[in-house]
Symmetry: C2
Subunit: 221 residues, 2 copies
């Protein structure tokens, strides 16, 4: 007797992912799964996006962390509804956890739901949460070799934000090398150089966000 | 019929971990499992340690990455034998992979074996590799909230290196907060503030390393 446990678990996750995707598509809501190493700037990106787009794009956020609700508190302070998931040890969010969190968000008044995954450049890439697209962050201090060393995560991204470019004057980082390695695993992703803290490049990110949101809203059932 | 698959897998890993520990203890070799987020400075720390301690401490390195042998190449350039493990997607090293890599290192001429785990602040903490102790790196750009958000990894550390303190003048990071959160999950770990690139604090790390090595050498069977 063979038990294909891996398949079974993924099957369950995929069922919830499908359900989440249907729920959000049905309402014309864009859903982004935001993935990066710890400390690349995911929460700072989302808090600034919420603030800058106030009155233009209604954002809701699901925060994934192993422990603490620090990130949800930051997002609420920026002015958006946020639900914190504490995974209590698990290294990624599951579609089932996201399903529960979605029921706590005021979907009727949202254009976009951001899901900030657990800080981990590896495991989250294997779990579909029902998102429309994935945004992967890579920050300058992490080093330009990361697209080559973590190919699966970068291959799954629709948009890659190279963040903390304000630190380029203090830290060696070869942008051309990072982009070349990104292109070798993912020729199609949009790639933007940003400094969330200083504001560089944020408009390119917002333009991408509005265009993507429009394409999802067009699909509304 | 109940199949406890999780237990079985861990059991197998623990068997190899025990075997690795016996092999290294029998030779009086200190073995450190080095864990951190991607880009915290693990390889740079090990390359500098190898260079600075040349003639004083004979180091060998096992490099774990999902893809590429970039890190083993860097360690060999620094002057130490290095074996690269490419996990091809897996988010952590296993004791079995380490067992195979140990057979490729010249153990008879080593004092210390460093195992650089896959860049991941979560999953590696659950897998014993047969090490004597764990070194966890946290770098300034990752943020001072990481010990609170990733408690299991910090709880398992014997030594914590807060790296890239040369960036403290450009990036906000509350060292007292990080240390307080570290102490709340791990009152016993040694904690050092270092800049591997600039050299700050490296002597405290080397002193720790020699003391730990002496205590392991005393246990030699």
């Amino acid at each position: 007797m063979k038990i294909k446990l891996g398949e079974k678990i993924l099957g369950r996750n995929e069922q919830f992912a499908l359900q989440n995707r249907r729920l959000l598509r049905g309402r014309g809501i864009l859903c982004l799964n935001v993935i990066s190493s710890p400390g690349s700037g995911k929460t700072t990106l989302l808090a600034r996006t919420v603030e800058d787009l106030k009155g233009k794009l209604r954002c809701g956020v699901i925060e994934g962390d192993i422990k603490t609700d620090l990130d949800a508190v930051r997002i609420r302070a920026a002015g958006a509804p946020a639900v914190q998931i504490q995974t209590e040890g698990a290294c990624h969010l599951s579609a089932q956890q996201v399903s529960r969190a979605l029921s706590e968000l005021p979907l009727e008044s949202l254009d976009v739901v951001f899901i900030e995954n657990v800080g981990n450049l590896v495991c989250p890439s294997a779990f579909d949460l029902g998102e429309d697209a994935r945004a992967v962050l890579l920050s300058i201090p992490e080093g330009d070799d990361k697209p080559a060393k973590y190919p699966a995560t970068f291959a799954g991204a629709s948009v890659v934000l190279i963040n903390k470019i304000d630190l380029l004057e203090y830290i060696p980082f070869d942008i051309d090398r990072a982009l070349k390695d990104l292109r070798s695993v993912n020729p199609d992703a949009s790639a933007f150089q940003v400094s969330v803290v200083r504001g560089d490049g944020m408009q390119t990110w917002y333009d991408w966000l509005f265009a993507r949101r429009d394409s999802v809203a067009d699909l509304k059932i």
